[in-house]
Amino acid sequence: MTWVEACGTGDIDEEDVIRFDRGDRTYAIYHSPDGKFYATDGLCTHEAFPLADGLVMDNIIECPKHNGRFDYRTGEAKGAPVCVNLKTYPVKIEAGKVFIDLG
């Protein structure tokens, strides 16, 4: 387990997403409409566009480039043109900070 601090809980509005970069990897951290936090790989599995530039609607992140949709809680690809699921990472909140487990 490698828990890494990604951001503060106040850094992401509800039903929104931010980008988190570490080394040469990009992640996306989500704040769901019901107040929970999730993390996935940050680049779309279709053409590697940064997902954090996209729209969060309920539990869906939509890639802004070609509107591919994923359920950010599970990484599941939900709508063409995406067909490869997103990798997800466990998240924990401690003292107002969001940590993700990079494995």
């Binding site: 566009f49 940064p50 530039d53 996209g54 729209l55 802004p64 480039k65 509107n67 063409a80």
Partner: protein, 405 residues
């Protein structure tokens, strides 16, 4: 279920038939030899990739096998026998259909000028490879037409180190559909990249000049090139529909459920015109990737009896250099424009009707900056909202907060 035309729309329809529970045969018929592929990369990554790429396939063999979709490549449909519900292929094979979908697309409009036998056009993957072979460093490429195909090819050709001249007939590029400010920014970007972009220019003829060509302008000036590409529009492929008596009007005429004048025949994508519910049922034909996909999918559902109305907000994008141009909706008839500053010299334009309804939005800039905003504008347009212009203009008012429930 039979689909004639194996491009983006046809592929999405075939998949939608399976997704919506059809277990009977699905036959997708295509004239081209490649598996169904998408066209946007043809003017971009197919041109600029270091090594010659394969076609950008969207419905390959393994997916077709998984979904049990029969694909007949290199097969021309030559007739539809409507009463008998048969599609006849060149060579005589007859394919029976319960419902038929025409997704025959469009072909590149040919330049009608003296000496045009050597011109290159871009519609198919084969066309793209032929153009790509000419895009060598230091060669001079002449591009006739300052529309999206011409501009994207200009950007790709510059990236390959070609000298590029773009010749546009109208007083400015992108005259219809985008604000002057956006067209100007794009023109500036091309010029900054070294493209010789000339507007208000008419073509008189194309002359052979040894193993080069010369584009002769109406004023007599000549532009010597190593290759000439024309991107002057696309004409919907309607001959099959016409020959079997289906109604045409700027393409194959369909209703808001994508049904033709024959209740068992549908049409979708570049080849069809349809009434758009968001725009007073104005009859339009859209040449856009999103439209091909969304219409293909909806036609698939309606072939199975769904009766869904197609009302998706028209959505278009063009990538040129580091810029993306995005247009959501149809700006025609807008009476007012409101600009929102997105920072870094990027503006988002909202196009409002007389009654304040948001008709369209447009922007050009890095996609990371504009894509989400345009997507939110698209949602405002879909909900027929009349946003307060001041809220649209103020960058401290989040567009998301303007969305009605």
């Amino acid at each position: 279920m039979v689909i004639v035309g194996a491009g983006e729309a046809g592929a999405c329809a075939a998949l939608a038939l399976r997704e919506n529970g059809w277990t009977g045969p699905v036959t997708l018929i295509g004239e081209e030899l490649e598996a169904p592929y998408e066209r946007p990369p043809l003017s971009k990554t197919v041109m600029t990739a270091a090594a010659e790429p394969g076609a950008p396939v969207v419905l390959g063999q393994s997916l077709r096998r998984e979904k049990n979709i029969e694909f007949l490549a290199g097969s021309a449909a030559i007739a539809i026998h409507r009463a008998a519900h048969l599609v006849e292929l060149e060579g005589g094979r007859q394919i029976p259909y319960r419902k038929l979908l025409l997704t025959t697309g469009a072909r590149a409009r040919r330049l009608d000028t003296a000496g045009t036998s050597q011109l290159l056009y871009l519609r198919t993957f084969a066309d793209a490879l032929a153009i790509r072979a000419r895009l060598l460093p230091q060669t001079h490429i002449g591009i006739i037409g300052g529309g999206f195909i011409g501009l994207e090819l200009a950007a790709s050709a510059r990236q390959r180190g070609c000298k590029v001249t773009v010749l546009e007939m109208a007083p400015r590029i992108l005259m219809r559909g985008v604000p002057l400010e956006i067209a100007a920014k794009i023109a500036d970007r091309h010029r900054a990249a070294g493209v010789d972009l000339r507007t208000g220019v008419g073509i008189q003829a194309i002359e052979d000049a040894g193993n080069r060509q010369a584009i002769v302008l109406v004023d007599g000036a000549k532009v010597a090139c190593d290759g000439v590409i024309a991107g002057i529009g696309a004409i919907p492929e309607t001959s099959l529909a016409e020959r079997c008596g289906l109604k045409l009007e700027n393409g194959i005429r369909v209703d808001e459920r994508l049904k033709t004048t024959d209740p068992d025949i549908f049409a979708a994508g570049d080849c069809c015109s349809f009434p758009h519910p968001l725009y007073d049922s104005r009859r339009i034909r859209l040449e856009a990737w999103r439209n091909a996909r969304d219409q293909g999918a909806l036609a698939g559902r309606n072939m199975l009896g769904a009766e869904a109305i197609y009302d998706a907000v028209p959505s278009f994008w063009s990538d040129q250099y580091d810029l993306t141009l995005r247009i959501a909706g149809l700006p025609d008839g807008a009476k007012a424009t409101v600009a929102r500053d997105l920072g870094d010299d990027v503006q988002l334009y909202f196009h409002l009707a007389e009654d304040g309804r948001l008709l369209a939005a447009s922007a050009v800039g890095p996609d990371s900056k504009i894509a989400k905003e345009i997507r939110l504008a698209e949602m405002l347009i879909a909900r027929r909202q009349r946003p307060n212009p001041d809220d649209l203009a103020r960058s401290d008012v989040r567009l998301k907060s303007l969305l009605a429930a």
